[in-house]
Symmetry: C2
Subunit: 130 residues, 2 copies
DNA sequence: CTGGATCCCACCAGATACTG
DNA sequence: CAGTATCTGGTGGGATCCAG
């Protein structure tokens, strides 16, 4: 199941724990965890409305992945019409905390990155024109 | 240039700074930053040897992205044969520090994730068989 | 030695249609 | 309401060949 070719690649870092890092690199996972962190409990359609732009499929898939990894708890109430609740697990909250500090750091530095890019692009459009 | 549809998506988190998060989600970027963090300065072929499994193309591309974002400095010595040095910038070192703490956290919790997955898979192979 | 340029495939996100 | 099933276009990334 999946791509588990991470065992021999980690020569540089002690352990990369791709399982977890992939979630953090995934746009929808980050969004969902953030939003679930703000609301304690949400239903499928509520999530769909809050995460602007996500497709129904990606919501399902991402939610399932997060559940599988133990970050999100999915509770089904067997009624008609169906009623399903999603909330963060304790592990999910821990992830959120860590994500937050990272996201904060990232946004504090995104200006530097933006400037670096402009400089780079400028440099390279010069050599292109020259 | 590129995909900049991140402006309206950040309703949940104050700011997602995808520019930076994408690097952390990218396997090769993480590896390169880690390795460059250990060696101060490395040449193209040295990097290629150290990052087991990377293709020549991905090394070039990833290096270029890291340079463009201001995390890596590329210094060319105009000699024959070409001699190119790569090293982390101060911003790159900052990224490394932050990445490290995240990677450490991730690896401390990857067992929990692994167990969650096994539990999930067990649950779902049951319903499948039942 | 350090890449640039191409070809090409495998995989994934997005849209659509259908179901309990 | 909360999904599943299916099709498809775009793209990330490996392999390969070429060049300064």
């Amino acid at each position: 199941m999946g791509k588990s070719a991470n065992s021999d690649i980690q020569k540089g870092c002690p352990c990369l724990a791709r399982d977890v890092l992939d979630r953090i690199g995934d746009r929808w996972s980050v969004l969902l965890v953030c939003i679930l962190g703000e609301h304690e409990v949400l239903r499928f359609t509520e999530l769909r409305r809050k995460v602007t732009g996500i497709s129904q499929r990606m919501l399902t898939v991402t939610l399932r992945d997060l559940e599988r990894d133990g970050f999100v708890q999915r509770k089904v109430k067997p009624v008609i019409p169906p009623h399903v609740e999603y909330r963060l697990t304790p592990l999910g909250h821990a992830l959120l905390e860590n994500m937050r500090s990272l996201v904060n750091w990232a946004s504090r530095h995104q200006d530097a990155v933006r400037r670096a890019r402009e400089a780079y692009d400028a440099r390279h459009s010069v050599e292109e024109a020259g």
